[in-house]
Subunit: 114 residues, 2 copies
Amino acid sequence: MQRNQKEEVQALQDTIYVLGGKWKLPIINSICNGNHRFKEIQQSIPGITSRMLSKELKDMEMNNLVKRTEDRDAEIVIIYESTDYCRSFGPIISEMINWGKSHREHIKKQKEKA
Amino acid sequence: MQRNQKEEVQALQDTIYVLGGKWKLPIINSICNGNHRFKEIQQSIPGITSRMLSKELKDMEMNNLVKRTEDRDAEIVIIYESTDYCRSFGPIISEMINWGKSHREHIKKQKEKA
DNA sequence: CGGTATCCTGCTGGATACTG
DNA sequence: CAGTATCCAGCAGGATACCG
């Protein structure tokens, strides 16, 4: 084990810690993809309940991952926006989407063989 | 929401599912980095107990993420090796290490300001 | 050295109902 | 529409001790 490998493991573990749980990455992805309203976000993520979304959004707001705005012009409209910090997960998300896609392809091919 | 966005969310969620928990990615990383013995792997991952490592390795062996070999020449030696499947997580791990590193830099700078 | 066994805790997160 | 409140189960995972 070299010194810089230790650093890398720690960096990896830090990232895993920050992204912990089932929902943070999908939410980040959803908001970065242009969903801004609570319902929009919820509908874009299969399986998430309003409770979990609410919890995570609060958490992410505190950690500067999203920006929440109450925009009262005529009526009250609440908007969630991505931050730079949020967008910094882009490369990770891309790679995970890539992996997931090719994994599906892989499974499909195996089934065809059988 | 377009059709291909749905696909992407699902791909993302699949990947999160496969990599679920605190330990799979660090273990994959460790083995891909050339650690092959149980103790080596354990020592390369801060905080992991033998129980967790054992559990995860078993799981990963079943899912073809690692190959376990009992090499009895003179004495019994057990070796864990990475598989292609295991190595397919390389890009994700790289990106997560990158993120973790620059995140540390970021924190450090903020502290210096204060 | 390479693990198991046992025990236990807390947190994640699901279900459901309700609110301003 | 954008959440809260409540209740509860399951399991990830820690501590510790032990085994061939």
